[in-house]
Amino acid sequence: MMEHVPIAHVLMVTSTMFFIGAYGFLTRRNLVTMLIGVELMLNAVNINFVIFDRYVYPDQIEGHFFALFIIAIAAAEAAVAIAIFINLYRNIRSIDVEEVDKMKY
């Protein structure tokens, strides 16, 4: 269905999304928004896998499965991460990443 779109364009989209996610991770001070950044990055990777399946190895659906599992893991990771955030929030009443620096040097 996408034979008119060159693969490079798709990769541009995914890479951009990946780095936008990275940007979010690196700049947002709220831990939850950082998590959003990570989710974007993972999502970009997912698209990558699927795209390669369809464009380069049309006879395979390995990338598709990979993406499937990544989604599941992302969910698990998010669950644990959020549990930890909330625990932190209980302890220090904040989920600002710049306040999470009691240990350094």
Binding site: D101, K102, Y105
Partner: protein, 631 residues
Amino acid sequence: MSYVLLILALPLSVFVVNGLLSGNLPHRLAGWLATGSMGIATVLAWLTAYNYFFQSSSYEKIIPFRITWLRFTETLQIDMGILLDPISVMMLVVITTISLMVFLYSMGYMQGEKGFVRYFSFLSLFSFSMLGLVVATNLFQLYMFWELVGVSSYLLIGYCYDKPEAVAAAKKAFIVTRFADFGFLVGILLLSYYTGTFDFTEITNPENAAVAGMTGISFMGLSVLTWALILIFMGGAGKSAMFPLHIWLPDAMEGPTPVSALIHAATMVVAGVFLVARMFPVFSFHAPEALDAVAFIGAFTLLFAAIIACTQTDIKRILAFSTMSQIGYMMLALGVSGYGSEGLGFTASMFHLFTHAFFKALLFLGAGSIIHALHKNDIREMGNLRKHQPVTHIVFLIACLAIAGIPPFAGFFSKDEILSAAFASNPIYFGVAALAAALTAFYMFRLYFLVFWNNERTYEHTPHESPVIMLIPMIVLAIGSVFAGFIPFGNFVSSDNQPLHTHLNVTIAIISVMVALLGITVAWIFYKKESSLSEQLSNTFGALYHAAVQKFFIDELYLFITKKIIFNLISRPIAWFDKHIIDAFMDFTATVTNWVSKEIKGLQSGQLQHYAYIFLSGVLLIVLVMIFTNT
């Protein structure tokens, strides 16, 4: 003739026994043990001399004992052995005899001293070392005993170790001679490197091609051999207190007087002369320049010491300078000597060494007898002692006459030969020697008159004559001082071991006696009675006199070099450098590490986003670098 080994073994064993048991041995036993052993050794030495000189016609070198002690290379090795030839046999006799006398004398002189046993132990060590030195078969053995002699001298000078002066003197003596030995050692290394041997019989063999070959290699204008010999002579000069390495000897008089008699008058200090004599064929055949140096140093010291001696007031120091001066004679004689039939100087030197041993030992023992009675050293505080110590007076007078060269006393004959040899070589040397002879007579009789005549002083205790045990050795030595001169020395000792017939040179004899008498007369005028003449005279020569009293400031010069230059300008800077540069550099690396560690701590800021930032940039950087390097 293996009993010769016993001559060495006896004092050595006394040293070991007395040394190890020094706390537990009764004094008398220890003393008699030492003296008795030395007595036996003396008898054996005389026996050896008898056998050597009278049982065979030619004086070949005999090696009755030799073992390998240490092997350096296939050819270079140190042997321990005994070499008998005329000079070593002569030295054996001199050393044992003087030692015996001093041992006997010390029994009285040192009675009641706390370190009596230790004293005899050290004294025996000295005798052993000195005997080992003279019979050494090779240069290295000689060097070893040379060092041992040095250390026993150190120990004996520092015998009164709680006296700071004695300690300083001992230290000085050791260090100065050590410095000289440094030259000696380098000389030995140089010589042995080219000849491939330490052995005297090989080195002194005039036909030795290796030795001759050394003359072909030159270094800074002189042949290597000359350098080697000059360096070896440096060792001799150190031990024999030749200018400028003489400064230790006057201070060495801090040791007990019998020690001065034995070591710093009769035996050890002539080791340098012996060394040159031992190496004489090499000097004579291959390195006349080195021999010239010997002569020059000898002559200079001869006069130099004599001048200083005239101004000193410490009885032992006067004798010390006199010793230096007399050794100067011996060196001069060697320096001007030829080989074989022209070897008068050599024989004269040895002869003087022989006679000098007797009268100088006697002088010291006499001085000891006086000090023993007065507990004072300054001759200005003595006077009119002939009343109190008649025997000492007589023997002292004999010794003075002997050293002044008045016939028929021993010194006359030997000195006459030296003057003849010097005259034959170079008139200047003769002039120096003659002048020194006059000075010798002057300062000896200055001493004699001041001590034994002049005015009676007030003494704390009335001086008394020394005990018999001290007098006997003095009398024996006095007899020696009278008669030793009559020995036809050239028949026994000569440069090529062939009898050398010497005869009295009448002209020179007359000149020498005249100058000696002149000296005595002046001394008589100045010092027999209290008079101000001497002061007037010293005032006339103001600066010179003052310089001579201060021993021409050589000590100060040395002090300047050691204290100011070596200590302040070298050692301290090195210590500083080590602590503040090298050490600091090592510490610096640690400091830098710590500093870097502190500076980069910001990397670990605790900020999660910084970490991720570094993570991402790390990844990208590696990719970038790898893409660049791999394409």
